[in-house]
């Protein structure tokens, strides 16, 4: 199989549970999926279904109880915390519901933050940040602090931060959950463009069926189990 046709994310038999006092609460059970290169996948499901947990596992910010997760042929479940942190800095771009920008840093500095961990020169960093801000159409507001930006603009800064390192995958957890309809539309348009024009692999968790419809495929989770095939849409 040519490399570009191989799945970028290969999940096999993943399970995850949390401990609540003496009780063990299973969240994901025997999940196996492939996500192709350049895919735009929406993960849907009711609250507590395990979709955010699955996203966290794919992004390498949580640990599986069993099974394997390969991203670009690398099994991240075998990595140490330090290796995982380094891997995340190079291969994963994060978009969160509440933007999670650092309030005392400007838009420019927020986008620059992930580049701190790369070996890029100051000039190269500047070039990357300006390009990322241009992609999200916020170059003219790079000196603004998050509090001086609208919710939609803050989420666009967060997207710029997610793409500035040119990651292998972008994970988005409810990226439109805190936005008004117009801003949500803009953010989804931007993510769609990143997927179609830049062939970015995007995995998005959402409650919003309108947001999910912008994805190329939808996966539905219920009580920790996949209930629809990736190419099926329940809407």
């Amino acid at each position: 199989m040519p490399p570009e046709q191989e799945p970028i994310v290969r999940i096999r038999g993943v399970s995850k549970s949390y401990r609540s006092g003496s009780r063990i609460l299973p969240v994901l059970e025997d999940i196996s999926i492939d996500i192709g290169h350049g895919e735009f996948l929406a993960l849907m499901g009711p609250s507590g279904s395990g979709k955010s947990t699955l996203l966290n596992l794919i992004a390498g910010i949580d640990r599986t109880d069993g099974g394997t997760i390969e991203i670009g042929r690398i099994d991240i479940t075998k990595m140490s915390e330090t290796e995982l942190a380094e891997w995340r800095s190079l291969h994963v771009g994060f978009i969160f519901q509440f933007y999670n920008l650092i309030p005392v840093l400007t838009a420019y500095e927020n986008v620059e933050l992930p580049l701190y961990l790369t070996g890029l020169s100051r000039m190269e960093k500047s070039e990357h940040v300006r390009t990322a801000l241009a992609v999200v159409k916020l170059k003219d507001r790079m000196d603004h602090y998050p509090a001086q930006l609208s919710g939609g603009e803050q989420q666009r800064v967060a997207i710029a931060r997610a793409i500035v390192t040119d990651p292998t995958i972008i994970v988005a957890d409810e990226p439109t959950g805190d936005l008004d309809r117009k801003s949500a539309q803009d953010v989804l348009d931007l993510m769609g463009r990143l997927n179609s024009e830049s062939r970015k692999t995007i995995i998005m968790v959402t409650h919003d069926p309108r947001a999910a419809r912008r994805a190329r495929s939808i996966l539905y989770l219920e009580k920790g189990v996949l209930s629809h095939a990736p190419d099926q849409t329940p809407f």
């Binding site: 966290n56 910010i61 942190a85 994060f94 999670n100 500095e109 961990l117 805190d178």
Partner: protein, 386 residues
């Protein structure tokens, strides 16, 4: 660079009022700590400035009992003794008891030779030595009462009753800042002559002998020889180094020193509580941000540096302000409490202790927040956001 910027902004721009109050708290605590330490160092200043080649001989029973003047020649005969001076505590009062200052009747020529740290201009020294009613005063004492050379100063005697007139013949300066410039020295002969006229029993008696020896190494031997010489006499002696003599005085107020040291430790604990409280609030509020940084790939070391660095920045800012304020306030203390603390200057060692205390407090206050931030699992931290 970006992380340093973040560190500064975290420390001073997030919660300006909290930062200002914390820095102010540390400033006041460091100021209090510095002043208390200065009191302690001032207390021990006499010990520090004492000469290892000077011995003090006094009555073995108590310093309040005198020694015969005739001992002088015998002491001079002891091998290793270079110079012998003597004096008596006069205990005179200038106008009012609250105007306290140390005043001694001394044998002036030998005394000034023995204490080269008292710098008297040659003309003043000659005028003082020539005039039996003359006296010299330290610069601070003269300034305190506005005395000028030639002024007649009257002291009311407490041990030696009556009004005693003296003429200011010179003003001495200290060789360095640690020399006491608040003392008053006059001729022992003037005292003795007057006593001869009134109280025969106190005539030809001195309060103490000050002895200059050729080297510090022979102090024990010379002391033993002097004391052995007067053993079984009517006035047995005890001879010790000047340092031991001063330490003996300080030992009488040991409890006060210990109390001051304890209070200075309490002050440090108070700073620690203030900074620890700020750091605990800060890190709790920033749990989400630390999770974001970890998510982006930043390791525990960077998070620890951000927390430790912030704690250090806030504490050191307060420390620097506190030290800057300690100097003028210690100066004001020295002016108002000159009677009790003739020299009240902030030692370099005190400043160093201020810095060490601040750094220790900063690290101690950040230990638990750092541990909590490092233990925090990324996914758990992200769940707390929003």
């Amino acid at each position: 660079m970006l992380l340093i910027k973040l560190l500064f902004k975290n420390a001073f721009l997030r919660h300006k009022l909290r930062s200002v109050l914390t820095v102010l708290g540390v400033t006041i605590a460091i100021l209090a700590f510095g002043l208390l330490r200065t009191v302690i160092t001032t207390w021990y200043l006499g010990v520090e400035t004492s000469s290892p080649t000077r011995l003090v001989t006094r009555n073995n029973v108590s310093i309040i009992f005198p020694l015969p003047l005739s001992y002088r020649e015998k002491i001079r005969q002891v091998e290793g003794v270079k110079i012998v001076s003597y004096g008596s505590w006069f205990g005179g009062v200038y106008k009012d008891k609250k105007n306290f200052f140390a005043n001694f009747a001394v044998e002036p020529r030998s005394y000034l030779e023995l204490y080269p740290e008292f710098i008297v201009p040659p003309d003043d020294k000659e005028a003082f030595l020539r005039d039996r009613r003359g006296f010299i005063a330290g610069k601070k004492l003269a300034d305190r009462f506005g005395w000028k050379k030639g002024d007649i100063v009257t002291l009311e005697g407490t041990i030696y009753p009556g009004k005693w007139d003296f003429i200011l013949r010179g003003i001495y300066r200290g060789r360095d800042v640690n020399v006491d410039e608040t003392q008053f020295f006059f001729h022992w002969d003037y005292l003795n002559e007057s006593v001869l006229k009134s109280k025969i029993s106190l005539s030809d008696q001195v309060g103490f002998y000050m002895i200059g020896i050729s080297s510090p190494g022979i102090s024990a031997q010379v002391s033993q020889e002097i004391d052995a010489m007067f053993k079984n006499s009517a006035a047995e002696t005890i001879t010790e180094t000047e340092k031991a003599f001063v330490q003996g005085f300080i030992a009488m107020s040991e409890a006060i020193i210990v109390a001051i040291q304890l209070v200075s430790l309490v002050v440090i604990l108070i700073i620690m509580a203030v900074v620890a409280n700020t750091m605990a609030m800060t890190t709790r509020e920033r749990t989400g941000e630390y999770s974001i940084l970890k998510t982006l790939g930043f390791g525990g070391g960077v998070i620890a540096l951000l927390i430790m660095g912030e704690s250090l920045l806030v504490t050191l800012s307060g420390c620097i302000l506190g030290i800057a304020l300690t100097y003028p306030i210690a100066g004001a203390f020295g002016t108002y409490l000159g009677t009790y603390f003739p020299v009240f200057s902030v030692e370099n060692e005190t400043v160093l202790l201020d810095f060490i205390a601040a750094v220790l407090v900063a690290f101690a206050a950040a230990v638990i927040p750092v541990r909590n931030a490092l233990k925090l699992r990324v996914a758990e931290g992200l769940r707390r956001i929003g």
